[in-house]
């Protein structure tokens, strides 16, 4: 049996808004094996970041279960949760706004160690900070610089060092390279890959960039308007997307090559508002294959091939 480090069951996060209930995450279930990377992709507002945060309880889920190593973390009290955070960390998207501008690199990286009271001795802590800086490829001479003195790639390395400081087993990477130029993006992706191998980390990798996720993730979950519409191994998903949304999404990626071009499917319309959604397939209004059935009921996520899940009435 596969060693599941994380299992998410029927996770929901609803927000009350003046216009009605916003279904940010709507009954999402999946699991991740230890040491693997699950990519979560989708467009703005599909609920991918909310899912990532709800799993860590940075946002309190409305209902559902999040089992981390078999324990439902939604039942933990504050103190237990705080203890558990050492094992579950997050890397944020924007290295320009996620670091306190008034703290030096040394202080930023030492912060999690202080908060959790892991290394009480100051000397020891300094040693650990330098060790972490080396792990993420930050030169020692930068130890007393401040975030504004550094470029985006180096700032993201600080974010990674902070996440690694407590020796976590599991990290949610929320668009960690989206704000970076391509040549720097590749540096950070390679670093994350090396760290995973060396430290046996498990990642959830949230992104809107499908070519990055294909390269980086073992499995990919595609979200649309709060729901998980398809999940499969990366290769299977790219070779044989089953959900019409996945198919269109993949075909919309601009490929930097003059060969092997995919036929482009241009979707009509835009993502509808996630407030007061009807009980039907949320993608139906934009779907080229939609029939009456799709507007009548919400399709369940089914395993149609081994390890390939899809929520679509049309896939038999």
């Amino acid at each position: 049996m596969a060693d599941k480090i994380l299992e998410v069951n029927h996770l929901k996060k609803y927000f009350d808004t003046p216009r009605g209930v916003l279904h940010a995450v709507d009954d999402v279930s999946f699991s991740i094996e230890r040491g693997k990377t699950l990519g979560v992709v989708g467009e703005s507002g599909c609920g991918k970041s909310t899912t990532g945060r709800a799993i860590l309880r940075l946002i309190e889920p409305t209902s559902g279960e999040v089992l981390f190593e078999g324990k439902n973390i939604l039942e933990l009290n504050k103190k237990q949760m705080r203890h558990l955070r050492q094992e579950m960390q997050i890397i944020f998207q924007d290295p320009y706004s996620s670091l306190d501008p008034r703290k030096s690199i040394a202080e930023l990286i030492a912060e999690p160690l202080e908060i959790h009271g892991i290394i009480k001795d100051k000397k020891e802590r300094e040693k650990r900070v330098l060790e972490l800086m080396e792990t993420v490829g930050l030169a020692e001479r930068l130890v007393n610089t401040y975030p504004h003195e550094l470029d985006g790639g180096r700032r993201q390395r600080i974010g990674i060092a902070r996440a690694l400081a407590l020796n976590p087993k599991f990290i949610v990477c929320d668009e960690p390279v989206s704000a970076l130029d391509v040549s720097i993006q590749a540096q950070i992706l390679n670093l994350l890959e090396e760290l995973q191998e060396k430290l046996g980390l498990t990642y959830i990798f949230i992104t809107h960039d499908l070519s990055v996720v294909n390269h980086f993730a073992d499995d990919i979950a595609v979200m649309y308007l709060g729901q998980l519409v398809e999940k499969a191994e990366s290769e299977a998903l790219f070779e044989k997307p089953l959900h019409p949304y996945t198919e269109a999404l993949l075909s919309a990626i601009p490929v930097p090559s003059l060969r092997n071009r995919r036929k482009r499917i241009v979707l009509k319309g835009e993502i509808t508002s996630p407030v007061n959604l009807p009980e039907c397939c949320h993608f139906a209004p934009r779907c080229p294959y939609a029939t009456e059935e799709c507007f009548a009921s919400s399709p369940e996520l089914r395993e149609v091939e081994p390890n390939h899940f899809v929520a679509c009435h049309k896939v038999k």
Binding site: E43, V182, F238, V255, P256, R264
Partner: protein, 337 residues
């Protein structure tokens, strides 16, 4: 340059353009002697990373370099035979928006939040085409339909539109006076991929319909492959390689262009390891001597740090600015198979 192309096929000619920004502490050399040629009905891609000088180039063509700090230190820009850098503000006002228009990256901030989208499109029509209020409003409605938005929505405000629709409004404004040249500065960077596909498709259609030329500024080589005819790769304010799509994608010559391709995940081969370009783009206030890419270049020799490399023409359409090619046996590793 190819002899077959006649001179009147050229819409825009930029020669040896140099732009500097003066601040209290430093002199930033943003654009350092670039040449560009845009032909009629053609799309030129201008590719590079943050700080390469792409937007500064575009603003120079529009004659919109900020007065106090920005200085065009040299070169010439010829738009359909007219030397725009020598024009007065008033003369330029007649051309800007009419003969050459620009679409900015962020549709969220490019529109005026307190004016209806219809009025914003009509503004250019009233100024340049001398239309009265009613005729301008009517044409504005038509322009909205051209970009796929119902004309009834002309009376709505930008906040009532989604990001993709706002960018269509910006495109409608840009195209309203039927410019001969459209400069699009990262027009889809702020948009989701399925919406990006819609906007690129619309731009492509309109380019044909209005017989326009286009400069597409982007950091995304995928977008270049989709819609450009030619591409110039910029690094630290210089063009390091230029050619047709086939030249640059299939017969890549410059080590920086190679580095860009190697940094990108290959969607058809997920096992291929990414090879990042080591180091960082140099500070434009403190450019290294010689080739600006040399400190990051794996082929660099001592020669490279001595002088700025000249253009070397590989064919009628393709040039590279890299002195390694002085050695006839030199070639980069990238192969397209």
């Amino acid at each position: 340059m190819s002899e077959i192309m006649k001179n009147d096929d050229i819409v825009l000619q930029v020669e040896d353009l140099r732009v500097e920004y003066h601040t209290d502490e430093s002199l930033v050399k943003a654009v350092n002697g670039i040449d560009l040629t845009v032909r009629r009905n053609q799309t030129l891609g201008l590719v590079g990373e943050t700080g390469a000088g792409k937007t500064t180039t575009a603003l120079s063509i529009m004659n919109l370099i900020p007065d106090q700090v920005g200085v065009i230190a040299g070169g010439s820009i010829t738009l359909e035979g007219k030397k725009t850098l020598e024009m007065s503000d008033e003369e330029m006002n007649h051309i800007r928006g009419k003969d050459v228009a620009m679409i900015f990256q962020d549709p969220m901030t490019a529109l005026n939040p307190v004016t209806t989208v219809g009025d914003q499109i009509a503004e250019a029509l009233r100024i340049h085409e001398g239309l009265d209020k009613k005729a301008a409003a009517e044409k504005a409605g038509k322009m909205l339909e051209v970009v796929g938005i119902p004309a009834e929505r002309a009376n709505e405000y930008p906040h009532q539109f989604s990001g993709g629709m706002k960018q269509r409004v910006v495109i409608a404004i840009g195209l309203s006076c039927n410019p001969h040249l459209l400069i699009a500065d990262e027009p889809t960077t702020a948009l989701d991929v399925t919406i990006q596909a819609q906007v690129l498709e619309i731009m492509q259609e309109l380019k044909e319909k209005f017989q326009m030329s286009m400069i597409m500024i982007t950091h995304d080589l995928g977008i270049v492959a989709e819609i450009c005819d030619e591409v110039s790769v910029m690094y630290a304010g210089r063009i390091v390689e230029h050619g047709t799509l086939e030249d640059v994608f299939e017969h890549t010559k410059h080590p920086y262009t190679e580095g860009l391709f190697n940094s990108l995940p290959d969607i058809n081969d997920r096992s291929r390891k990414l090879t990042p370009i080591p180091g960082l783009m140099p500070d434009p206030a403190n450019l290294p001597q010689g080739c600006a890419f040399a400190p990051r270049c794996r082929y660099a020799t001592e020669e490279c740090t001595k002088a700025v490399p000249e253009k070397r023409w590989i064919s009628d359409t393709h040039y590279v600015a890299c002195s390694a090619y002085d050695d006839p046996a030199f070639h980069i590793e990238r192969k397209v198979d």
